[in-house]
Amino acid sequence: MADNEKSRIEKVSIVISRGSLDGVYPGLIMANGARMEGIDATIFFTFFGLEAIMKKRADKLKVSTVGNPAMHMPTMVGMLPGMSSFATSMMKKEMDKLDIPPVGEFIEMISDTGADLFACKATVDMFHLSIDDFLPQVDGIINVGEFYERSANAQIIFT
């Protein structure tokens, strides 16, 4: 038991850098799961990961069917119109069965657990965005230095 307590994770900082549905969910599930275990969690959204916290985009993310060998689908088939939407709706249906919420609702839930959500300043500047483009649960726009400051004593997980 003593060993167990010593090695317990107290805090995680999760970076979400991709904007596909399959790129965003693992980080969200890990952040939410951390809070469920009483572990402090911060999520840093960077590059295309910002789509997950954009008002206009959060609930429109799609599964990538091209360049993804695990889809077991030839690239040319994955390119056909509607394939990505089809794969996305299949995945959403399966996730709903497991009670995994849509992205917008998940962000709201994770924020309600007490986790902190931040957008990456470099990406915000690059895409000419402002805080108004983001869901109200976003706690702010921070640079990479501030991210490391906030991650003191945390395990950093890049997704």
Binding site: I29, M36, G38, D99, I100, P101, E105, D112
Partner: protein, 105 residues
């Protein structure tokens, strides 16, 4: 399988202290289990959650997710984390007399 006397009832527990048989549960047991989890007094807010966990688990055959507590049970996620800090899903299940939740969300 450990057996323990809690609030005057012989209760079957797993190795982590979760009840194996929800039918052995009583409200007095809940009060004792809550104390073990560091919750000295069960308020109306706690009971609303415990009652929903018991009712929903009985109907659905599995412990409700946090999302289900919010959408079906009308329990705000913030309240759940305030009332059962440091692991709300596990703690509420434990105090409600159910085994440890197995899902990821």
């Amino acid at each position: 399988m450990p057996v323990k006397q809690i609030a005057g009832v012989q209760v079957d527990l797993d190795d982590e202290g979760f009840m194996i048989n929800p039918d052995q549960w009583t409200r007095e047991i809940a009060v004792e289990l809550a104390k073990e989890e560091g919750i000295d007094t069960l308020t109306d807010g706690h009971w609303k959650i415990i009652d929903f966990v018991r009712k929903d688990s009985k109907e659905k055959g599995q412990i409700p997710t946090i999302r289900r507590m919010k959408n079906i049970g009308g329990i705000a996620t913030k309240d759940l984390y305030d009332l059962f800090p440091q692991g709300p899903a596990k703690k509420s299940a434990k105090i409600a007399g159910y085994p440890k939740p197995k899902g990821c969300v």
